[in-house]
């Protein structure tokens, strides 16, 4: 009986032996048919919820303000909602955000494959992440044959959860943390941080880096980028040095959310236990928990209808305030563009305006690119949006002051646009 045996020693019964970092999930699947068959469902999921779901709808069409906000950056061309894990490889190859012209210095690096394939752990071990990231996306393509799979999250043999992405390992180290010391429950969140985090490409080697050296709270991340003087792109005409935020689920959820503080992990909601016959196992069909709230929330919350109604309310409030913030940033962009076109503009004031625009937009994006429409940490979302709106309006005022032109104080610029913007070409 198992309690006479220290749990560390309890091993899974394995029919087939799996070699370390085996990229082919179907081999692992012979040992664990339940996990494999549920993982495969992520391929065909396509049901939507009010604010998310698995259909890959276009954010640029759903909210054309984002075309303006990302103007001059590939995200203004193509930006879809995410879908299931097994589509990762197909989707990264299909996005119009790629630049596959290796002659162009701005071509897409191999780094973009980092979170899309179970071939990576093996490749990183073999050639090292530095060499990997120096290659172009094109050059890497022949080495990548598998989409996300078991090797991205598990150690073969023991099946324990591990950090497979060297960028995560290094980011934790930079904070003096070692994932090897984490408890099993902590790993049920940290394993998602292999990918669901804000990142940037450091230097010419496009080295994958998480901006966490000062901490993972939003102001610490902004401070990090300020110290580094980093920018993702320059906003056309306005000339603001912009930052793009990307899926910071981990940073957002762990910033003191109700659930995180109560010890709940990502996997508790997104990979709830399901039973197949007598035994239960973790569903590997990862998607919106609003599609199976009975399983995802129902064990902790007896009234799962109640919590789902609550999610609706939270998301609606966040979505509405997010639109106010977008409008404020668009008004600011309009003003800064007009000011920048004026050769007599006061450079110091205009730069202050740009700095506030940069921060306001990164803060907004941190909430917007986070995929739960605020649910992972509702108060944090609203707090950040309140701060962002305040900065955006101040950016607009500074831009107007820089050229002493009252017309720059125009508000509601987006609402007056007709027709509304469409995705860039």
């Amino acid at each position: 009986f198992m309690k006479n045996q220290p749990p560390q020693e309890r091993a899974f019964q394995q029919l087939v032996e799996i070699k370390a970092m085996e990229p082919d999930s179907s081999l692992w699947g012979q040992n664990f048919p339940n996990q494999w068959s549920t993982l495969q469902k992520t391929k065909t999921n396509n049901i939507d919820t009010t604010y998310a779901g698995s259909s890959q709808f276009s954010w640029l069409e759903k909210d054309p303000r984002q075309v303006i906000l990302f103007w001059g950056y590939p995200f203004s061309k193509d930006y879809n909602d995410d879908r299931g894990h097994m589509n990762a490889l197909e989707d990264v190859r299909a996005t119009k955000r790629l630049n596959l012209n290796d002659e162009d210095p701005k071509h897409t690096p191999a780094t973009c494959y980092s979170c899309k394939s179970s071939d990576n752990p093996g490749l990183w071990t073999e050639i090292g992440m530095e060499a990997y990231d120096k290659m172009s996306f094109n050059e890497m393509t022949p080495n990548i044959n598998n989409t996300i799979g078991c090797a991205n999250c598990h150690e073969a043999g023991t099946m324990r959860l591990i950090v497979t992405n060297p960028a995560l390992d290094e980011a934790l180290e930079a904070q003096g943390k070692h994932w090897e010391d984490f408890t099993r429950q902590e790993m049920r969140t940290v394993v998602c941080a292999n990918c669901h985090v804000e990142y940037y490409f450091k230097g010419d080697g496009k080295y994958l880096t998480f901006p966490w050296a000062n901490g993972t709270e939003i102001h610490q991340i902004i401070e990090y980028y300020e110290e580094l003087g980093f920018k993702d792109w320059e906003y056309p005409d306005a000339k603001t040095p912009m930052l793009k935020a990307q899926h910071p689920e981990y940073e957002f959820f762990t910033a003191g959310s109700t659930h995180y503080n109560a010890g709940v992990s990502c996997s508790d909601c997104h990979m709830p236990y399901v039973s197949e016959g007598a035994a239960k196992f973790s569903s590997h069909d990862v998607h919106s928990p609003l599609l199976n709230p009975e399983q995802a929330c129902g064990q902790c919350h007896t009234d799962s209808e109640y919590v789902v109604r609550r999610v609706n309310l939270i998301q609606e409030q966040v979505a509405n305030i997010k639109i106010d913030t977008e409008n404020a940033i668009i008004d600011a962009i309009n003003a800064i563009k007009l000011a920048a076109a004026n050769p007599n503009a006061d450079a110091a004031l205009l730069d202050q305006a740009r700095n506030l625009h940069r921060k306001a937009q990164f803060m907004w994006d941190f909430v917007s690119a986070e995929n739960s429409t605020g649910f992972h940490n509702p108060e944090y979302a609203l707090k950040i949006l309140a701060e962002s709106t305040n900065l955006a309006r101040q950016a607009q005022m500074l831009a107007a002051q820089s050229v002493n032109d009252m017309t720059l104080l125009e508000t509601g610029v987006y609402d007056k646009m007709d027709p509304k913007p469409t995705p860039a070409k």
Binding site: F12, R160, R184, Y273, S275, A279, K280
Partner: protein
């Protein structure tokens, strides 16, 4: 000289104990009927919530709250807990909200696994210890929707939800 008071003391103790057993129906406390535990109305709410929770059909308090690996451990722990409970009750040293101690929690966890071993076998296995209580998720299992809620008249079905 010394012997008499000693005998008297022993006699007095025996009489007192007899009276105590008679008055309090102490032998019942050696049994396992849930009503026994609920004798102390300080545990009314646990009783009520257990009574209405899904496990009422299958379990008694002691199925979860006492160790079952062997009968020595069972009675030792029963004695320890009982003494503690009676001491707390009679001295009136009753905490505002009664909470399971860490030791109690470990005993309960063992018991969940004892009954549900087959179900949880594959999920509690693995290279790292399971390290969390079953009722972190199964919050309603033993004592109702919100744990051992002591608030009566709390019924959200009666309350309009906007």
């Amino acid at each position: 000289m010394l012997k008499n008071p000693f005998i008297i003391a022993i006699a007095a103790a025996v009489i007192a104990l007899g009276a105590f057993v008679f008055v309090t129906d102490a032998p019942a406390y050696g049994g396992s009927a849930p009503e026994t535990c609920a004798n102390c109305h300080v545990m009314d709410s646990q009783y009520e919530n257990w009574y209405h929770a899904p496990h009422e059909k299958w379990t008694e308090c002691v199925d979860c709250h006492l160790p079952h690996e062997n009968f020595v451990a069972y009675y030792l722990e029963k004695g320890r807990q009982g003494a503690k409970d009676v001491y707390a009750f009679t001295t009136g040293n009753i905490p505002v909200a009664i909470r399971a101690s860490e030791k109690t929690k470990e005993i309960i966890q063992e018991n969940c696994i004892r009954c549900h071993q087959e179900t949880v076998e594959s999920v509690v296995m693995g290279a790292q210890p399971f390290g969390r209580y079953c009722w972190d998720c199964h919050r309603n299992v033993s004592h109702g929707a919100r744990g051992a809620s002591g608030v009566p008249y709390q019924d959200s079905t009666l309350y309009p939800v906007k």
